[in-house]
């Protein structure tokens, strides 16, 4: 059995799939009986979604154009 502190320390690794199988079991056992850590888990998922978010039209067209010109000129 692990406590909240140990479970929270492993939550992102748990979501990444990088915890060892025996640790995964310990995290899941803890989550099954701790509502606060389930909240932490959902929050971690939201944070990950936020990091991965890619805004439309984010890249400046003029910069892309200049870099594309660089590519065009390479080796020609």
């Amino acid at each position: 059995m692990i406590g909240c502190r140990e479970a929270v320390q492993r939550l992102w690794e748990y979501l990444d799939g990088t915890v060892e199988p025996d640790e995964r079991v310990l995290v899941e056992e803890h989550l099954a009986r701790c509502r606060t850590c389930c909240g932490e888990l959902e929050f971690a998922k939201e944070l990950r979604r936020m990091l991965a978010r890619r805004p439309d039209g984010d890249l400046p067209a003029d910069v892309l154009q200049r870099l594309d010109q660089t590519i065009e000129e390479l080796g020609t």
């Binding site: 990444d16 909240g39 932490e40 929050f43 990950r48 990091l51 991965a52 910069v63 080796g75």
Partner: protein
């Protein structure tokens, strides 16, 4: 999606094969560079393209082209950071290890009239805010965080790109996430994102 040129095309016209790869990857390279070095992104991609073109003959597996280009880009960014190095602020990792943004938000309760406190906090962050928070992290932690959570590379791919053991990447990711959470709170405080909502 990356469509690798076949080996025959690469042999017949390596210049054209490189240009095809570079054009295809350009938006992703620029996006990654902006997340790692902010305003210096264009210069870093430019430098990356020049170096990659010179070394294209060394690329053994054309399917690995995107990761190979990213690796060159990341190293250009690290060189830039080294050249303009300032002493990073000392980080208290012991205190950092205890920090949980989730619990901190619950404790501080910045929106007392909200029944979805944590989501409300996250919704205050636009893409520019997230980028600004990431830019506050020391480069050592910023690079793996950007590559894994923003660009979708696997930790083992990042280990190869940075030429460090997988354990080092996992450890930097762990600390990087903690730092990111801590910086999110500090950024929210400093940028006025915590102004109380729905107050009667």
């Amino acid at each position: 999606m990356h469509v690798a040129a076949d080996a025959e095309t690469v042999r017949a016209d390596p210049g054209e094969a490189f240009r095809t790869l570079a054009r295809e990857q350009l938006p992703r390279l620029l996006s990654t560079a902006r997340r790692i070095v902010g305003d210096d992104a264009e210069d870093m991609v430019q430098e990356c393209l020049l170096k990659a073109f010179q070394r294209y003959g060394q690329l053994r597996d054309v399917a690995a082209g995107p990761a190979w280009l990213t690796s060159i880009l990341v190293n250009c960014c690290r060189d830039l950071a080294r050249a303009s190095a300032r002493q990073p602020d000392e980080i208290d990792f012991e205190a950092l290890e205890q920090f949980s943004l989730f619990r901190h938000i619950a404790y501080e309760d910045p929106y007392p009239y909200s029944d979805s406190l944590h989501l409300d906090f996250l919704e205050e962050f636009g893409c520019d805010d997230v980028r600004a928070v990431v830019m506050r992290l020391p480069l050592t932690y910023r690079v793996p965080l950007v590559l894994v959570y923003m660009e979708g590379f696997l930790a083992r791919e990042v280990a190869e790109m940075l030429d460090v053991p997988l354990g080092t990447v996992l450890s930097r990711l762990h600390r990087g996430r903690k730092l990111f959470e801590k910086q999110m709170w500090e950024y929210a405080e400093q940028s006025g994102l915590l102004q109380r909502k729905d107050e009667p």
